[in-house]
């Protein structure tokens, strides 16, 4: 695991030096602007507007980083051939892959934590206080982070066997489909034959179900999130992520470099 940590730490250093964390400036400006505006136009619902907007921004910015940098984790190293010297060291290919994954998840964790702090600051600016129920925001942020980790794993998987452009396309498509996976499972009364329905249900269970990762609505309205849902979603993300990473490692371990 030492090799995994070494690769992860370097991936984090790369993200910092390539100014990935500069997106925080954009987030800070967005939160400040919202805090100023919301106080003037939305009487009584300031908190809910700020929390909704803040969590959405955390999710969207994280998604961009997870997809675009996630796809580049391996493909950029192969294109630039920086991987050659590294794989000639006593490092297993799966260790490299897992290290890259952990490095980007570390980056996303720092980024998301900083944005969550910004969100609390905006909330405090508007309310001049923080309540106990505001702690639910942390649960929402945690679930967003889990979702982003899953997306990084998917981006890594696709970048192991296809071009960066197609990998971005596939990852984005799987994400959008995954958001509606729950709807696909529940669909009824549609006029299609039984075989097609079974196929659709089957596919919906293969897709990552991102429905449970989204608790933004409840948290924005000050409602809590059941502990069971958090535990179940965590387990789901760990198992699904492990399977995706194992598949990526299996493909990458036999991949011919250019």
């Amino acid at each position: 695991m030492k090799n995994v940590w070494t690769v992860a730490a370097n991936t984090f250093r790369e993200a910092v030096r390539d100014r990935v964390l500069y997106n925080l400036v954009f987030f800070a400006l967005l939160m400040m602007g919202t805090a100023i505006l919301v106080g003037q136009i939305s009487i009584g619902i300031e908190e809910s507007v700020i929390v909704s907007l803040g969590l959405t921004a955390i999710s969207v910015i994280g998604l961009f980083i997870a997809v675009f940098i996630g796809v580049g984790l391996v493909s950029k190293e192969m294109d630039k051939r920086t991987l050659y010297a590294l794989l000639a060291k006593p490092v297993e290919r799966w260790e490299f892959l897992l290290g890259k994954f952990c490095g980007l998840v570390m980056t996303l964790t720092v980024n998301t934590t900083a944005m969550a702090a910004g969100l609390y600051l905006a909330l405090w600016t508007v309310k001049h206080t923080l309540e106990r129920s505001d702690a639910w925001i942390l649960v929402a942020v945690y679930l967003i982070l889990l979702k982003l980790a899953l997306i990084v794993a998917l981006a890594l998987l696709f970048s192991c066997f296809t071009t960066p452009f197609l990998a971005i396309l596939f990852t984005s498509a799987i994400y959008v489909a995954g958001v509606f996976a729950g709807d696909l499972r529940r669909v009824q009364g549609v006029d299609i034959n039984a075989g097609a329905m079974r196929l659709m249900r089957g596919i919906s269970y293969l897709l990552p179900n991102f429905e449970n990762f989204n608790v933004m609505g409840a948290v924005a309205h000050g409602r809590g999130v059941p502990g069971g849902l958090v535990g179940q979603t965590t387990l789901y993300a760990v198992v699904y992520g492990a399977v995706v990473l194992a598949a990526a490692a299996a493909i990458f371990s036999r991949r011919n470099l250019k």
């Binding site: 030492k2 090799n3 070494t6 370097n10 250093r13 790369e14 030096r17 390539d18 630039k80 051939r81 920086t82 991987l83 050659y84 010297a85 590294l86 794989l87 000639a88 060291k89 006593p90 490092v91 297993e92 036999r254 011919n256 470099l257």
Partner: protein, 317 residues
């Protein structure tokens, strides 16, 4: 018999091409050879001959269709063989957001070195490859030659027993090439095995105990540079200066360059010619044995290969 440093058995590699990657081009055909411990082995061939393919197969960057290889007795499938192996890729490119010192430290971590050991080795290595003053500059600002030096440093940082260098002289100025040559000779002196690919034949002649020539994916010969080109001389050459107007029969056969004359002759006529020159008061500057060069041997093989390929193409039509 001692274990060879590198042992290659029937390695073959094909590359798919075409719209659906259904066609295959043979890049390496049934390559078998060995490199003995402690020798400097030159892998020669024109561009696209299969040199880099062989090296990438050894480093497990690509996978063969058939065949196997061992380094210091360990299968190349065993990742631990990299502990005793150093590798310089062709036209190396490294993480350009790191400085040379950071990059070497990063790579050293995979060899399980302690922080103190890493620091000492990195310093020494930067000094050895002449990058001590540039160690704090990010690699994105390095020239091609400087990157080549960093590449060399990372290849030998962990004191490997076997060093594999893919075109180590590429991109270097004459001074840089000389420094690389010195490093290779130093590695040999320390008893390490060096395999390097090149198409610069003078480097191979100067450095190698043995060379292997590969053309069109096939190994065409292995031996000492002398064995490869044959030891029979093709005659002698005298370089001399003489005052103009002297009645010297040799001048009729000589080629003039500035004030100097150069004349070729069979070995048995050498002493007669020297007597003639002495009698005429000429100043003899050099007497050289003319041998076929590795370059001539190499070019003959390339020509043969091209002729063979053309013949196949014609018969195919």
């Amino acid at each position: 018999m001692s274990t060879p440093a590198i042992e290659i058995e029937h390695l073959s590699k094909e590359y798919p091409y075409g719209f659906l990657n259904l066609k295959k081009k043979k890049s390496l055909e049934d390559l078998s050879m060995r490199v003995d411990t402690g020798e400097v082995f030159g892998f020669l061939g024109p561009n696209g001959a299969g040199k880099s393919t062989t090296i990438k197969l050894l480093m497990r960057l690509i996978f063969p269709e058939r065949g196997t290889a061992r380094i210091l007795g360990k299968s190349i499938d065993d990742v631990s063989m990299h502990r005793e192996t150093g590798y310089l890729p062709e036209q190396p490119y490294f993480y350009d957001y790191l400085t040379a010192g950071e990059l070497l430290d990063y790579f050293a971590r995979f060899h399980g070195l302690t922080a103190a050991d890493r620091q000492t080795r990195v310093q020494n290595m930067l000094k050895k490859v002449g990058l001590e003053t540039a160690k704090k500059i990010q690699l994105r600002k390095y020239s091609k030659g400087m990157l080549q030096r960093v590449g060399l440093a990372q290849a030998i940082l962990h004191d490997p027993q076997v060093v594999i260098l893919d075109e180590p002289m590429s991109g270097l100025d004459p001074l840089g090439r000389r420094e690389v040559r010195d490093i290779i000779l130093e590695l040999k002196k320390e008893g390490r095995t060096v395999l390097f690919s090149t198409h610069i034949l003078s480097d191979a002649e100067m450095l190698c105990d043995r060379v292997g020539v590969i053309v069109g994916g096939k190994l065409r010969g292995v031996g000492t540079p002398g064995e490869m080109v044959g030891i029979k001389t093709q005659g002698m050459e005298i370089l001399f200066e003489v005052t103009e107007g002297k009645n010297l029969p040799l001048l009729a056969k000589a080629t003039r360059t500035g004030e100097r004359y150069r004349v070729h002759m069979p070995e048995e006529e050498l002493y007669g010619a020297i007597e003639q020159l002495r009698a005429a008061g000429a100043r003899i500057l050099a007497v050289t044995q003319i041998k076929p060069t590795l370059e001539e041997f190499f070019m003959n093989l390339v020509e043969e290969d091209r002729a063979q390929a053309n013949a196949v193409e014609v018969s195919g039509k």
